[in-house]
Amino acid sequence: MSEPPVAIIDGGGANITSLRLALARLGHEALLTTDHDAIRAARHVILPGVGAAAAAMEKLGASGLDRLIPTLTQPVLGICLGMQLLGEGSEEGDVACLGVMPGRARRFTPAPGRPVPHMGWNQLQATPGVALFAGLPAAPWCYFVHSYALPVTPATIATCDYGGAFAAAARAGNFLAVQFHPERSASAGAAILANFLSRY
């Protein structure tokens, strides 16, 4: 028996093939959809996102998903831009976001030895005891690709350092979010996805 499908919210344009394949490796089929009923019915929902915040919010707004997502009650995982969209807003295009998590995404400032985008492997400092990181070392390596990030807030469950600490993962009620790409973070990322699907 395969596991129930995971709904991946189709924000348009985002390349979700690698996410689908990562879920398939864990035995989960994924349903890419904008259908409100299908999303509401799913056991788990993932909000991915690659691209610019303002364009992504516009896209969500066009199908009413900007109003639906904050009302979801099952576990929801925002990934990369999807994490920033769950925050209050973004400097990128000066846009209001979904507001289910505290913080407003800010752009990194490039510096010698610290190019932007922040692209590559970096270590998390995970809050002990958080189920999303069960079975992982305290400072797992994950793969990041981003120019903006949410600041550290009381919702932060893992930080990462790139010229200062930023929120690498956060949780507010049933909403979880990771700034890195678990689908591209080797065994650590697979464990995080598996924890999301089995422990929430």
Partner: protein, 235 residues
């Protein structure tokens, strides 16, 4: 991994798995069948690679349009790398960055030193067609960033294939011009060469092919060594 279509897919998947398991941080696939002008190629191999890889990977070769890039990314690649087509049509880089974001637009630069000047070469996938592009390496490094490149792989041709070490002098020249990640390519022959390029040229990554394909170096052992040299690499 550089391959033509006569190389059976099983080999590619096997190599992808092997490097994944050895601890590679990222893989680059040079699809040289895709390079000759005007050929339509079957890119479905990318999805088979994507299914086994849980690390990022980049596809290089034959990406001449936004549509080409879209196909590659749709099959699950994380990044596309453009080389000769960007020299022929630099505006392609602006279009790719606008459509997909700079984070997945890698520019490969094949640079050759002659009489103290660094020049960019094109069509390097085919020795019979390789020629100097008329561009100065430093100027091209600046231009591709202005056009939206999110990463530069600098392949130093004088060193390529000879395993005498990365071209530290050239990489040091390019480093301050490069505010996006800079990846060293060409010349790796020993573990010490990797340590040197990180320490002396401050690159963000080091790419190698033949030393891994031949089994001269094992990626896991290389990374253990780099940690002893105070270079932070993923464990």
């Amino acid at each position: 991994m550089r391959f033509r279509d006569h190389r059976v897919m099983g080999d590619i998947l096997e190599l992808a798995r092997r490097y994944r398991d050895e601890g590679a941080d990222e893989l680059v696939f040079y699809d040289i069948t895709a390079s000759p002008e005007g050929r339509t190629v079957d890119r479905s191999w990318i999805q088979r690679v994507a299914a086994v890889l849980d690390i990022p990977f980049c596809v290089a070769g034959g990406i001449r349009s936004v549509a080409d890039a879209e196909a590659v990314l749709h099959f699950g690649a994380d990044k596309i790398s453009v080389n000769t087509p960007a020299l022929a049509n630099p505006a392609l880089l602006d279009a790719l960055a606008r459509r997909f974001g700079s984070q997945c637009v890698v520019v490969g630069i094949d640079s050759h030193e002659q009489d103290g000047a660094y020049r960019v070469y094109q069509n390097t996938g085919d020795p019979a067609r390789t020629r100097e592009s008329g561009r100065d390496t430093a100027a091209w490094v600046r231009e591709v960033q202005e056009r939206g490149a999110g990463e530069i792989v600098l392949n130093c041709m004088n060193q390529d294939g000879v395993r005498q070490g990365y071209d530290i002098a050239q990489l040091q020249m390019v480093r301050p011009l490069c505010s996006v990640p800079l990846i060293a390519s060409g010349g790796a022959g020993s573990m010490e060469h990797f340590a040197a390029v990180f320490h002396e040229a401050r690159v963000d990554g080091a790419l190698a092919a033949s030393v891994f394909h031949t089994g001269t170096l094992h990626i896991g052992e290389l990374k253990s060594y780099l940690r002893t040299q105070a270079i932070g690499v993923r464990s």
